[in-house]
Every structure is written in structure tokens, then in C-alpha cells.
């Protein structure tokens, strides 16, 4: 389904722009990752279309979107695994296209799949990936030990990875990208398929990395993860970055902090034709049984409620809530992120 509104973003200086106009200026930017008008098509399918964003040192940028939105394709282009059809990627001021070796030295990638050697132990995996990232044997061994402690896996360090639980594998999978202490960490849905406790541990670890100055690009389709972990969020769907900003900025886009969920028989209803309705509300979603609207007028919620109870359709229930990222996604795409 096509977006209801024109693609727009809130840039790092707080302004709101069309997503395609965000083009960080290389010379002035201190960002550890700069993505400019990145595009990629697979045959007739436009997987990524003119995506632009930045990630600064110590920042966590969440790329939120449903499965197939273009998150992994975007990360693959940043990591140098896919060649973009158009656009540029700079990692630590090095172009991934023209100076990949330098860009990759600043990069750590945690793939969505568990990319580990199951026959090797956790420690051996860490040391191997450390060596591949350019560390000497002694440094790799030392840092592997540190990471095993930090990831709470020291007591299982000598076990083959195939004997690990899903959460433990995820942690080692994450650790393997950190041996060389990258300035930028790409995390592609790193918590898929693990229990809440393991997920919480990983998210906490990631916050710690950011606190130490590592820039993090985090893709997810979990709303709660994006809301709780990512100070800045980009919403992507059908390859397009529809909006980005802080959670508050994105909530503001759909009408401040009030959403009304009205239950009733909305079959055939035409909200646009109701007197005074469009001046105070905007429709986020309308189904046969439910109407989700955002209050656009700056007034007391009680006044909104009074107006809603006088609508020409009988309302059986009203819920007032703060807009979530899902509501933002709903407004931008007309469909639920969870669908």
C-alpha cells in the first residue's frame, strides 16, 4: 500500500524534510556512517530507493520496518556485500566503494543469521574472527577473554558452539564483530528468535557499547526494541525511508501525544464529511469496527472527547492513548507494522 503522506524526515538539526533531500555534506559531517541516496534493485523489485541517513559516534540509529522492507539490503550495501545501483556510503569518512579496506577496518557487522562455526568453541570463534579482522594472535586471545566475560559466556568458552542455546549463540555472534573494536557496528536484527531475558542482556550490552563511543546501526522489526534502544529511528518500507527522528519527533508527526481509538460500526462512514471533524482530527486508520484518529488541535482532551461523542455514528467504546511507533507506521503506510 502506498504511503498516505509525502515521505518526510526530521533531520539531526530538528527540521522536517522530504526524505530524499537529506544529503549529509561529507566535509562538515562528523558522522561515523553517512548514507547518501542509496538505491538497489533486484530485477523489477526496487529493494532500496534513495535512502539517506547518518549515524554519529556513540549514537544508536534504529532502522525500523517490516520483513522485506529493505533493511538487510541497506546493511549489506553498507557492509560492502552488495554493490549499490546508486548512492554512496561513507564509513569513518572512507567510501565503501572506493576505499573498502579502510571502511571495513572501522566496521563490525553482526549478521541476522548466526554466522559462526558450530564445530569450534566460543573462544575459538572469537579468536578466529579477531584474527581475520587483523589482530595478532595474542591480542585476539586477550580480547576474546574480555568479551567472553562481558557477554557472560566465560564458563562455556570451551564448549563447541553447537551446544550453545539460541541466546548464547546470538551473544557470540555479536561478540565476533567486536574483537577489533569497530567504530561502527551494524546489527541486523540481532535478537530474532531468542527469549526475552537473552534479548534484554543483548540490548543492555549494546547500550554499553554506544556509551563507549561506538556508533550503532540497528535494524529491527520489533517496535519495543526500537522505542527502548534507539534515540533516533528511521522508518523504512518498500525500500523507502519514510521518516526519521527521535521517538517524540515521530509521535509529533501524527498529532502530538493523543490518539483516540473509537469502536463502533464504521462501515460506510465518511469522516471527511462530518462537520468540523477534519479541523480537529486526522484519521490514522479506519476499519469496519474501529476508527483510529489523532487529535490535531491543541486543546483539552475532554473537548476532543465531547466532539467525538457527538459524531453521527454511535460510538460503543473510546480509548485514549499515546501514539506508538506502530501508529506512526500506520499513518505512513496505512497498515500495521505487525501485519
Amino acid at each position: 500500500m502506498a504511503p498516505r503522506t509525502a515521505p518526510a524526515v526530521v533531520d539531526s538539526r530538528g527540521g522536517t524534510r522530504d526524505a530524499r533531500s537529506v544529503e549529509p555534506e561529507p566535509a562538515k559531517s562528523s558522522a561515523i556512517l553517512r548514507v547518501r541516496r542509496l538505491s538497489k534493485a533486484f530485477g523489477p523489485l526496487q529493494a532500496v530507493a534513495e535512502v539517506s541517513f547518518e549515524v554519529g559516534p556513540g549514537a544508536i540509529y534504529g532502522l525500523l520496518g517490516p520483513n522485506g522492507a529493505g533493511k538487510t539490503t541497506t546493511i549489506s550495501m553498507i557492509a560492502g556485500l552488495l554493490r549499490p545501483d546508486a548512492g554512496e556510503v561513507f564509513v569513518d569518512h572512507a567510501s565503501v566503494a572506493t576505499d573498502p579496506a579502510r571502511a571495513k577496518r572501522a566496521l563490525g557487522v553482526v549478521p541476522q543469521e548466526i554466522a559462526l562455526y558450530e564445530e569450534l568453541t566460543g573462544r575459538e570463534n572469537l579468536e578466529f574472527w579477531g584474527r581475520m579482522a587483523g589482530l595478532d594472535a595474542r591480542t585476539a586471545r586477550t580480547r576474546a577473554g574480555e568479551l567472553l566475560d562481558a557477554l557472560s559466556l566465560a564458563d562455556r568458552a570451551r564448549d563447541p558452539v553447537k551446544k550453545y542455546s539460541g541466546g548464547m549463540k546470538r551473544r557470540i555472534n555479536l561478540g565476533c564483530a567486536l574483537l577489533h573494536r569497530p567504530k561502527l557496528l551494524l546489527l541486523d536484527e540481532p535478537t530474532v528468535g531468542i527469549d526475552p531475558q537473552a534479548r534484554a542482556n543483548i540490548l543492555e550490552f549494546i547500550r554499553g557499547l554506544a556509551a563507549q563511543g561506538t556508533g550503532i546501526l540497528y535494524t529491527t522489526h520489533y517496535l519495543d526494541e526500537a522505542e527502548s534502544l534507539c534515540p533516533r529511528i528511521g522508518i523504512i518500507d518498500h525500500g523507502r525511508l519514510l521518516a526519521e527522528g527521535t521517538l517524540a519527533e515521530l509521535q509529533e508527526r501524527i498529532g502530538g501525544d493523543r490518539l483516540f481509538v473509537l469502536e463502533g460500526d464504521w462501515e460506510g462512514a465518511q469522516p471527511g464529511s462530518w462537520p468540523g471533524f477534519t479541523a480537529s482530527f486526522s484519521v490514522i486508520q479506519k476499519t469496519a469496527r474501529q476508527l483510529v484518529i489523532a487529535a490535531t488541535a491543541p486543546r483539552d482532551p475532554a473537548e476532543d472527547l465531547r466532539q467525538l461523542l457527538n459524531l453521527p455514528v454511535r460510538v460503543t467504546n473510546v480509548t485514549l492513548k499515546r501514539p506508538s511507533l506502530n501508529d506512526v507506521f500506520l499513518q505512513l503506510t496505512g497498515r500495521d507494522l505487525r501485519e
Binding site: L81, A115, Y117, F128
Partner: protein, 428 residues
């Protein structure tokens, strides 16, 4: 970097050795089975003496000569004739105590020496054995061909010989010398056709073999007659290619498990990763060859003529195998498709190269036009040629050079194909 990658692969192979062990065990098992079926192994490392019965129902001076010939020198080392009556010989053949019974019918010599009569020897083979009776049949074919040739060329004198040999009295020297004169005159008439002699016996080879028998290399000569030594190099060549397939298949596994993609996100780039797989395959094939040929030799009592030459040939085969399977990995991305194509391809290559059975048993077109072009055949001929002291085979250095050169070429081709694929993002 390359060392770390190899160490990783070797460690993984050691912790999950089953796929490799299967490829090492199968040829040993097949060699053992085929070897036992076709006659088995003897204490001297050869086929063993072929025990068979001679039933001489003619009992003439000519058959006495034939009986005596069976106990002479080389024949005595290979053949163990026992002289029995027909009924006893057939009973022992039935009881699997003998490989065959050669029956010389009554009046054989008389009929042979007559000018017109056709004569026949009778060979009763033991159906429970395959190899020894087959050898006896071939030997008998040689004997009968020789006898036929003599009969055709000396038919004019044979009647006189029959009279001399079948008389009641011992032939006088005068009678015999007269016949010898006639024979000599006939041979003189044939001089132009016999000089140069179309079929000759190489005295040098005879001398070398004889000397080798004293120095221990005689065992090598025996080894070529050993069915195990004959089978093992061929089967080893085919299953070493399968082993290479298993090793190189790891590249596709890594692509599927995304470890290859992960590696591609690191500064070294994919080229060294692919190169490490080729080197890993080379190592696995070389070690596999050492286990198969060395271990197989120990199991079956084969004494290889030159372990060093064998090692060189195995290394050359490993280079070829690495290059061949690297090309396959570069061309066929899908694991399932590659498994089918490689299995069928290696099997066809092996069979057409004479890995499973002698190449001279192949159809003429394959034997003369295809097999000589196939690299596994170079390896097999190199090994067998070395075992037989170089007789009848291309020299091993040529085989080794051809294998290694082709392997290098295939590796370079694979590198080019991989680079092209990676540029197209197919691997990612």
C-alpha cells in the same frame, strides 16, 4: 592469514571427520572386497600360485613335454599343477580345492600330429573363483595359439614326427636328426619373416626383473600381479576426487552459513578465503592419498616400488583435484545441484579413466580416444607404470607434470570465475 584459515578448516574437519572418513574407507573396503573376490592375497604379495589339475588321458611323449613345462622356472612360481585322474580332478574343482582342471584327451598327440584332424584341450573352470580360472584360460589360449601356429607352419613334417614319437621303439638319433634338418630348412626359409623378429623378449627387462627379485624390488613386480595393488591406485584416484569434493563443498557450506559473507565484510576480502579452500582441499587430498595408499598398502601387504614417486604423483593429483573442484564451486553455486553434478561427474571421470577396472576393458572408443586424455588415468598409469618398472606406461614425471599443470590452470580459471561472480554479488 592463510595459516589461520587453514587451521580453522583443519580443526573443523578433525571435529567432524565422518564425511572425510567415508571417502577414505570406501575405496579400502571396495579394494578388499574386489581383491578377495578376484583371488585374494598371498603371502608373497602376489596373486599366489594357481593350483589346478592336469588330467593327462593321452600320456604321450608330447603331453609329457607339456606336463614338464608346467613345472619349469617361472611357471613353477605362478602355477601349481597337480596331476590327477579326471574324476578326482572334477571332484576337487567342485569342492573349490582347485581353480580349474586341464584335461588332455586321449590320442591328443596323435591327432595333433595328423595333418588334417582338429584337436581340442578341455578346461573345466571353478565357478566359485573368477581371477585364477580366467588367468588359466588366457594361458591356455596362448598355448593353443602356439600349437596351432606350429601345426599350420610345420604340417608337412608333423606326420613324420608323429611316426617317430608314436612308434613302439624309442626313436633313433638318425630319425630325429633327419626331422630336425627338415625343420631347420623350413626355419631358414622363414628367416626373412623372422628377422627382425616381430615378437621378442626384452633381455634387459628380464635382467632387471631378475636382479630386482634379489634386491627386494621383485616384490614390486609381484605387486603388479597383486590384485590389491592393481585396484587400489584406481579406486584411490576416484575417491580422492570425492574427498576433494567434500573439502571444497565446505566453501558452499560457508556461503550458506553466512560465514563467507561475514568474512567478506572484513578487510582481507574474499580472494584469500577462496584460496584457503583450494589449499585446504589440496592438503586433504594429499593426506587422504597418504592414508589410502600408505594405509591401504599396509593393510593389503602391498610394497610400493617407490613411495617418493607415489607421493609426487599424489601431490600432483591433489593439485588437479583442488583446481577441478574449485572450478565446480565457482560455476555451480547451489549446494544441492553441485552435489549431484560433482558426484556424477567424478564417478564418470573415474570410470572412464579406468579407476574401477582396467582401462583395456573399456569400449574401444573410450579406451583409445577418451581415457588417455583423462587426468585420473594419468595418475593411475603413473602409479602402475612405476610399480611395473616403467613397462608399457607413460613415464611418471610426465604424468605428474601434466596433472600439476592442469591443476594450476584450473585453479586460475576458478579464481577468475569467483572474481566474476563476486563482482556480480552472486555470492553475497
Amino acid at each position: 592469514m592463510l595459516g589461520t584459515l587453514l587451521a580453522k578448516d583443519l580443526r573443523r574437519a578433525l571435529r567432524n571427520p565422518v564425511p572425510y572418513l567415508v571417502q577414505l574407507c570406501v575405496p579400502l573396503v571396495i579394494t578388499a572386497l574386489l581383491g578377495l573376490v578376484f583371488g585374494g592375497h598371498s603371502e608373497d604379495g602376489g596373486l599366489g600360485r594357481i593350483r589346478f589339475a592336469v588330467v593327462d588321458e593321452d600320456n604321450s611323449p608330447l603331453t609329457g613335454f607339456l606336463r614338464g613345462a608346467l613345472n619349469q622356472d617361472q611357471a613353477a612360481t605362478r602355477l601349481e599343477p597337480v596331476f590327477l585322474a579326471r574324476a578326482e580332478a572334477l571332484r576337487q574343482v567342485t569342492n573349490n580345492a582347485l581353480s580349474a582342471a586341464l584335461i588332455i584327451p586321449a590320442h591328443f598327440a596323435r591327432d595333433y600330429l595328423l595333418r588334417t584332424n582338429a584337436v581340442a584341450l578341455e578346461l573345466v573352470k571353478n565357478p566359485a573363483q573368477a581371477f585364477h580360472p580366467a588367468i588359466l584360460e588366457e594361458l591356455l589360449r596362448v598355448v593353443t595359439t602356439g600349437l596351432s601356429a606350429v601345426k599350420q607352419n610345420f604340417s608337412a613334417s608333423l606326420g613324420d614326427w608323429r611316426d617317430v614319437l608314436s612308434g613302439d621303439q624309442r626313436p633313433t638319433m638318425r630319425e630325429v636328426s633327419g626331422l630336425l634338418d627338415q625343420t631347420a630348412d623350413r626355419l631358414d626359409a622363414l628367416r626373412d619373416r623372422l628377422d627382425p623378429v616381430p615378437v621378442w623378449f626384452d633381455k634387459k627387462q628380464q635382467a632387471a626383473t631378475s636382479a630386482a627379485g634379489k634386491s627386494g624390488l621383485g616384490a614390486a613386480g609381484n605387486a603388479m600381479a597383486d590384485i590389491f595393488a592393481f585396484l587400489l591406485p584406481g579406486l584411490a584416484a576416484m575417491f580422492l576426487l570425492f574427498l576433494a569434493d567434500v573439502a571444497m563443498r565446505d566453501l558452499r557450506c560457508e556461503a550458506q552459513q553466512r560465514t563467507f559473507s561475514r568474512f567478506c565484510t572484513l578487510p582481507p576480502g574474499p580472494a584469500i578465503f577462496v584460496a584457503s579452500k583450494v589449499v585446504f582441499t589440496f592438503l586433504m587430498v594429499f593426506v587422504g592419498a597418504a592414508i589410502l595408499l600408505g594405509g591401504g598398502g599396509a593393510i593389503f601387504g602391498i610394497r610400493w616400488a617407490s613411495p617418493l614417486i607415489l607421493a609426487v604423483l599424489a601431490a600432483a593429483l591433489a593439485v588437479f583435484a583442488g583446481g577441478l573442484l574449485a572450478c565446480s564451486a565457482a560455476l555451480v553455486a547451489g549446494a544441492r545441484g553441485a552435489e549431484v553434478i560433482n558426484t556424477i561427474g567424478v564417478m564418470l571421470l573415474g570410470l572412464a579413466s579406468g579407476c574401477a577396472f582396467p582401462s583395456n576393458a573399456l569400449p574401444d572408443f573410450l579406451r583409445y580416444h577418451v581415457t588417455p586424455l583423462l587426468p585420473p588415468a594419468w595418475f593411475i598409469e603413473g602409479v602402475r607404470g612405476t610399480q611395473s618398472g616403467g613397462a608399457g606406461s607413460a613415464p611418471w614425471p610426465l604424468a605428474a607434470v601434466k596433472l600439476a599443470a592442469l591443476g594450476v590452470l584450473l585453479t586460475l580459471l576458478a579464481a577468475w570465475l569467483f572474481r566474476r561472480r563476486l563482482r556480480r554479488n552472486a555470492m553475497a
